[in-house]
Amino acid sequence: MRTPVRHRFVRLLAALGLTGVLLLPTLALPARAANPLVLRVGTLQSPDSINPWNASLVVEYEIFQLNYDLLVGFGDDLQPTPGFAESWTQSSDGLTWTFKIRDGMKWSDGQPATSEDARWTIAFALNSKKAGTTLGLGYIQDYFVDAGIDSVVAPDPQTLTIHTKYPTERVLSMDAPILPKHVWEKKSAATVGDFTNPAPIVGTGPYQAVEWKTGQYIRFARNPNYWGNRGAADEVDIRFFPDAQDTMVQAFKRGELDYIRNPSAQQFDQLKALPGVTAVEAPATGFTELGFNTYAKDIPGGGASTKALRDPAFRDALGYAIDKQAILDKVYHGKGTVGTTMVPPYYVQYHVDPTSPRTFDINLAGQKLEAAGYVLNGNGQRLDKDGKPLNLRLYFPNDEPSYATDAQFIADWFSKLGIKIKSQGMDTGALTDIQTAPEYDPKAKANYDLYIWGWAGDNNDPNTLLKIFLTSSIASAGTDSLYSNPQYDSLFKQQNEAPTADARKASMAEMQQLIYDQAPYHILVNDSELHVWRTDKFANWQQMPPGTGTPLFVMGALNYTLLTDATAAPTPAAPATPAASAAASAGPATVAPVTTPTPVTTPTPAATPAPAPADSSSGGTLLLLGAIVLVAIIAVGLVAWRGAASRRRKKEDEE
């Protein structure tokens, strides 16, 4: 009978051992130095990559804007300010820009940062594009490519010369980072997108990423060699909450976060009322739309279910059956504005309101349908011009709960017109695949009718939104409505090469009215950015644009450097960089040199960087270890379970 005692002892030992092993990892958690001042930011997005060539999400842009400088930065009123370049001039014929690169600037690893780095970065993007190679996902590369640059030279370490194909100011607003040549030059263009760009990142921006835990957070330490303002934060932590909006808000309420982006509308209202908290609803660069499959050619065995979708009169009539205000109120709880044109009001320089906007009037919609040749039959069904009852599929991606609700509303209203709607949510990838045409993939069938989705534009330029309706986007799978209109294509070229902002606006106004009338999209709502932050830890939150915008997740990282310590004794405020007062005007423009901020000494980095998983072998061993422990845990559970079970069930056969 000695077995029970021995078993009990063994079990106890095993339990203790297992507990100890399980708690060991806590020792490996990165240690912190004493009392750094940390800015903790929360966002719903989680970056897929911190390689800037792969940036597509807002959070990914924010990350590279902290790490790296843009050639020319953005002031709070979106005017050009010093970035990698200190100042710039344009030649009298408008075809040459000369940038002065700051003397003595260093990369965060101590290497000198010169015009050669800028030249190399821009040339790398341009040359790869010419050779037909896309760098990473291609969005960042396009900023360089679309700026109309012909060639770039670095005659000396402090001078960068850019020759443009036509007079343009676009070189001042390229939202793309200048990368350190000595880190990146060995990468080949075809595979540069695979480079994980592991922390610690080398850049000239105010903060450098030192640790990235995928799906959880990314930590930045202050760049000891930064040339600009010294922000109060020693460390910046951006924490990700994918599918965990409520968790993010709870964390903010408990003081675990200092700043959050996009809580829900109701959460936002609740947080607004709290003391010591500022909440701002700012116009966003994006919108939500009801889109149509407007593909104008027949596809055997595919295509839209009716030719009516190709008819602008049909699409226009349907627009009168959409109560955009109701959608804004009920689905988005008033956060946002009623949708109009595809250039949202956020772009104050370019947005125009449509002449004679549509109203919500179901009867009028019915009349317009009749007038366009779509009549009702005896059963109350609306027929198309081939005499078939209209039975439309309405798809939407299921990663955004509001789309399903929008679909319910649309289906309800259209049913009053005798049009039957069948709604179906689907995976974003599946939907993207469906919305392709034979020009992109010969096997594509474009089997869809209506859909609900959204777009977000760049902070400084609506070009990405404009490109949606280009004919060329059909072949590059850059459009989901497969719209084609030669008039629009030539207008786009006009605005892209416009010499001044006013000329550009004129072209864009025509484009907006055209798309509004033709209605390949009905823009339902223009989104709002909902940002909330505490004011008792950091102060001097500047908004971009002033008064109406948000401090963070905007163009560049200027506002991070302007933050002050709210609890510290008042010191003479760091001079806010005065933006160039000259409004965009035709002809050569010079930028007044900015007053240099207090010279930065070299402070000690606050956070000790934790080693990023460098190679697979360490990950593999760690996983193997973990798997062994997992097996042990499950085995213990099984043994205990079997031990507790009796011969209750039929005696099991032996195998």
Partner: protein, 316 residues
């Protein structure tokens, strides 16, 4: 041989009378267990709710027909409050009953059909067939079925097409049925098989074989009736498991927002931040329903198993 073959009507009537008596016997024993009665009562209530939801609370409220304003706490008009679109939670929950129970039922059917077939065939035929079938069954027992379900869902959805309407239910929900059925049959198969094994040993089966009945005939006419008891008990318990699994799958995001089950309502509550906003009424009703239904099934199933299982009688 003589008396029985002369009056052929009698054995059948005798069998009928025997069945009535054993049924009454069973009912009595069942009714004496308080847990069984409570469980049954709860199930009856939910069955009624599932069958005639519209009669009780009107049609399912949609975004456009929402009757209240967003996230109202329970009051006189909306007894269980409203969700973030202003829809009455009572309305949603009762309609959700229909979806949850229906998916549970269909999934259970699939599970039982597959499991019973495997079990009976393996148990009766034996030999190599038994070995192969049991290999497959053991394989499925070992797999982490929940993760498998997550992986299978998009595959099945792709196979049947997102638009499809099978037996009047939308593709999403049908996928859940298939996926639960395919991943849960293994334990049923095991249980049925062992019962089939023991039945096989009994005398009348040998008699039937001597007379010359085919295997299928024997399986259908002799083995099946004797495992029915076990199947019934197992079905009820499987139903509980199916409801739990469906709720969890919907909570994780595989539900259908147009035909919300309880799990889907819970998913909506979680993603709208209801716990943080203090809107307990958004998720308490569907959660309570899940718990009640699963509890009821467990109680009834356990009671059934106890009552129908001969060993239990001896101990009393």
């Amino acid at each position: 041989m003589t008396a029985a073959s002369v009056s052929s009507a009698d054995p059948r009537r005798q069998r009928f009378r025997l069945r009535i008596r054993s049924a009454r016997d069973f009912a009595g024993r069942f009714a004496r267990r308080p847990d069984a009665v409570i469980g049954l009562a709860i199930l009856v209530v939910f069955c009624i709710l599932a069958l005639i939801p519209s009669l009780l609370v009107g049609p399912l409220e949609t975004a456009t027909t929402a009757s209240g304003s967003a996230l109202q706490a329970p009051d006189a008009i909306h007894v269980l409050g409203t969700d973030d679109l202003g829809r009455d939670i009572l309305n949603l929950t009762i309609h959700g009953t229909r979806i949850s129970m229906m998916i549970g039922l269909l999934a259970t059917l699939v599970t039982i059909v597959i499991g019973t077939s495997f079990g009976i065939i393996a148990g009766y035929v034996g030999g190599a067939v038994d070995a192969i079938l049991m290999r497959i069954t053991d394989f499925f027992l070992v797999l982490p079925t929940f993760v498998l379900a997550l992986i299978l869902a998009p595959i099945v959805l792709d196979l049947i097409g997102s638009d499809a309407l099978v037996f009047g239910i939308r593709a999403n929900l049908f996928v859940t049925v298939i996926v639960i059925g395919v991943t849960s049959w293994a334990s049923t198969a095991r249980i049925i098989r062992s019962q089939a094994l023991s039945v096989r040993e009994r005398m009348f089966v040998d008699r039937a074989r001597v007379i010359g009945g085919s295997r299928l005939h024997i399986m259908r006419r002799h083995i099946l009736p004797n495992v029915v008891n076990l199947i019934v008990a197992n079905t009820v318990l499987t139903f509980a498991g199916a409801v739990l699994t469906e709720t969890t799958l919907a909570f994780v995001g595989l539900g259908d927002p147009f035909d919300p089950s309880w799990g889907q309502i819970l998913n909506a509550a979680e993603s709208r931040g209801a716990p943080g906003l203090g809107a307990w009424w958004f998720f308490a009703p569907p959660a309570a329903c899940v718990v009640f239904v699963v509890l009821a099934f467990t109680l009834v199933g356990g009671a059934l198993d106890d009552v129908l299982n001969p060993r239990a009688r001896l101990r009393r």
